[in-house]
């Protein structure tokens, strides 16, 4: 019997995987803010597995409705306009899970995240992942498990890599406290994550 090759995860597996990585960085009972929280599944997961006290922020009406159905506290505001109203240091962790690449005000959002929380958790798809580079080399915009959109329908507006993100953090005096990168099968990547990582997770704080 031949050895089974790691296969790419399906959408549900990816979601659970994403949640598990994030949950690993959230101590029990914390106050958590989830930006671009979708229908609140992550917050619900964190509430059930970690007993966190969480709020979500979402702009899409259907997703806000999903949160309310899920019994998740959600605030319908536009993150692009900042987080005024949220008090300084009012959360332990603020999460932005695979949503930063779909927002324009990248710098402002990162700054605001570390204003309202002690630490930020950011996850995003790596545009410099090997398969994405290959797609470009072949003359196409990449479409993959982590970038599941055609160029003409993608909600993504910021295309960046691990290297790019880390350079921005340095410029904004944001300290990278931990980084994890995974390939499409969800396997951790240690060697050259900017090339071998499809999905990146960062735990960030203010540089001291």
């Amino acid at each position: 019997m031949s050895e089974t090759l790691p296969r790419a995860m399906n959408a549900q597996e990816r979601e659970r995987f994403d949640f598990a990585v994030i949950a690993g960085w959230i101590p029990p009972g914390e106050r958590v803010l989830d930006l671009g929280c979708g229908d609140g599944t992550l917050l619900r997961y964190l509430r059930e597995t970690k007993g966190v006290e969480g709020y979500g922020v979402e702009i899409d009406p259907a997703r806000v409705l999903g949160c309310i159905r899920n019994g998740v506290d959600v605030i319908q505001i536009d993150i692009e306009r900042g987080l005024s109203g949220f008090e300084d240091g009012s959360f332990n962790h603020v999460i932005i899970s695979q949503a930063l690449q779909a927002m324009h005000a990248t710098e402002r959002i990162l700054g605001e995240m570390l204003r309202v929380a002690d630490e930020a958790v950011v996850s995003f798809p790596n545009f410099a992942f090997r398969a994405n580079r290959a797609a470009i080399a072949e003359g196409h915009m990449p479409v993959s498990e982590d970038l599941p959109y055609q160029w003409y329908e993608t909600p993504n507006v910021r295309f960046f890599t691990l290297q790019d993100f880390e350079a921005l953090c340095a410029r904004l005096r944001i300290e990278i406290r931990e980084r994890k990168a995974f390939d499409e099968a969800g396997q951790p990547v240690a060697d050259d994550p900017n090339l071998n990582g499809s999905l990146a997770f960062y735990r960030l704080g203010r540089a001291r």
Binding site: R31, E53, Y55, P61, V64, L65, C67, I68, R69, G71, V72, D73, V74, I75, Q76, I77, G85, F86, E87, S90
Partner: protein, 382 residues
């Protein structure tokens, strides 16, 4: 607020309902210091109170509303309740799950004790002598009704506009007696602009020669002109600019300019119609008092304007909803409530609903709005 504009089809899934009257003989001291020796409240109920008495929901009315929230009357079948699209069997506020109570507030003109009632001390109608009542007084009176109905804790209290203020006030005045507050198209206090509109409405009534310092009923007249103007200005604030443009635009009644002061533009016709209709049934003293209750409402007033400090007492879970085109109580006003609740780590969901109908959107059956209401209410345990 203008519930009268929405009813009319004469259809309601609740069928016929019957208003009831509760009598309270214990004196009620009002926020102003005045005392009512006794009072009546008229109310309606829909659905059945469960054995645990844990499924009761109070619906609070806004400026011109009443206890007639849903259903219709056998002897007046066209008179459908003002929030009938929300309340009934299978509707977002489902009367098969909840026991819903609608009450005409103290000082109202639909049967509860108010300026039209006879003052037991004088044997004459109160008229202008009826004391000014506040949102706090309404909530205190509603609590008396809850006592009488055997309702210790409301599963939810909800309302739009001034009704939302009552829901918010419930969470502060009786934090142990309310599990959920649904505050729709409301505000934590009026702005100077809001008060200004109210003042114009009041001046219209107060300066009507038929007002007679509020004792018009004694003379058998009604300050119709004042009431009509008050309602007209109110209506302008309930609608959005877009909606007015869409509904009336610059449409001319006669297809030409006639160079006189009769109705020329359709919007004039609409406002006059609304004004006339309202002046035909609403009491001027009640209207004046309602606008003052709105002006005075400000839970943060006793906390140096700090709303977060004022809301620290609240224990309920909240749904706050606003409407994108509401400029009377704009979404920003709802967000003030949301962030004050957040400061206190209260459970709150906030939906900003895209609806073009301005302040009055809360009375409409916009699909997304009602889906939000349904989703929230369905998660309330009974």
């Amino acid at each position: 607020m203008p519930q009268d504009t929405l009813a009319g089809a004469g259809e309601s899934s609740l069928g016929f309902v019957v208003p009831q009257r509760a009598r309270f003989d214990e004196p009620l001291t009002l926020k102003s210091g005045a005392q009512l020796p006794s009072f009546d409240l008229v109310y309606e109920t829909y659905g059945t109170l469960n054995a645990a008495r844990s499924n009761a929901v109070l619906v609070c009315h806004a400026l011109s509303g009443s206890h007639h929230v849903a259903g219709r009357y056998e002897d007046d079948p066209r008179n459908v309740g003002w929030w009938d699209n929300l309340v009934g069997p299978g509707k977002p506020l489902d009367t098969e799950r909840f026991f819903v109570v609608g009450v005409n507030n103290l000082g109202g003109c639909y049967g509860s004790t108010g300026p039209l009632s006879v003052n037991p001390h004088t044997g004459k109608r109160y008229g202008a002598d009826f004391p000014l009542v506040t949102v706090e007084d309404w909530v205190a009176a509603q609590a008396r009704l809850a006592d009488q109905l055997g309702i210790d804790t409301w599963a939810a209290v909800l309302g739009g506009s001034l009704g939302g203020m009552q829901a918010l006030q419930w969470s502060l005045q009786y934090p142990e007696r309310i599990r959920h507050a649904l505050v729709i198209a409301s505000a934590p206090k009026l702005s100077a602009q809001n008060i200004a509109f109210n003042e114009v409405a009041r001046q219209a009534i107060l300066s009507d020669p038929d007002f007679h310092a509020g004792h018009y009923a004694e003379r058998g007249v009604v300050p119709v002109r004042g009431l009509r103007l008050a309602r007209m200005i109110g209506h302008i604030t309930y609608l959005s600019d877009d909606q007015m443009a869409e509904k009336f635009g610059r449409q001319l009644r006669h297809g030409e300019h006639r160079f006189n002061y009769d109705v020329e533009f359709e919007v004039e016709s609409y406002l006059r119609y609304q004004g006339d209709k309202f002046a035909g049934f609403f009491d001027a003293n009640t209207y004046l008092m309602m606008t003052k209750a709105l002006d005075y409402f400000d839970p943060a007033y006793a906390y140096d304007g700090n709303l977060a400090a004022a809301l620290a007492r609240a224990k309920a879970k909240f749904l706050v909803a606003s409407f994108s085109t509401d400029w009377r109580f704009s979404p920003a006003r709802s967000r003030e409530i949301v962030f004050a609740l957040l400061h206190n780590r209260r459970s709150v969901a906030y939906a900003e609903i895209d609806c073009d109908a301005g302040h009055d959107s809360f009375l409409l059956d916009d699909a997304h709005y009602h889906a939000v209401m349904r989703a929230y209410l369905e998660n309330i345990e009974t």
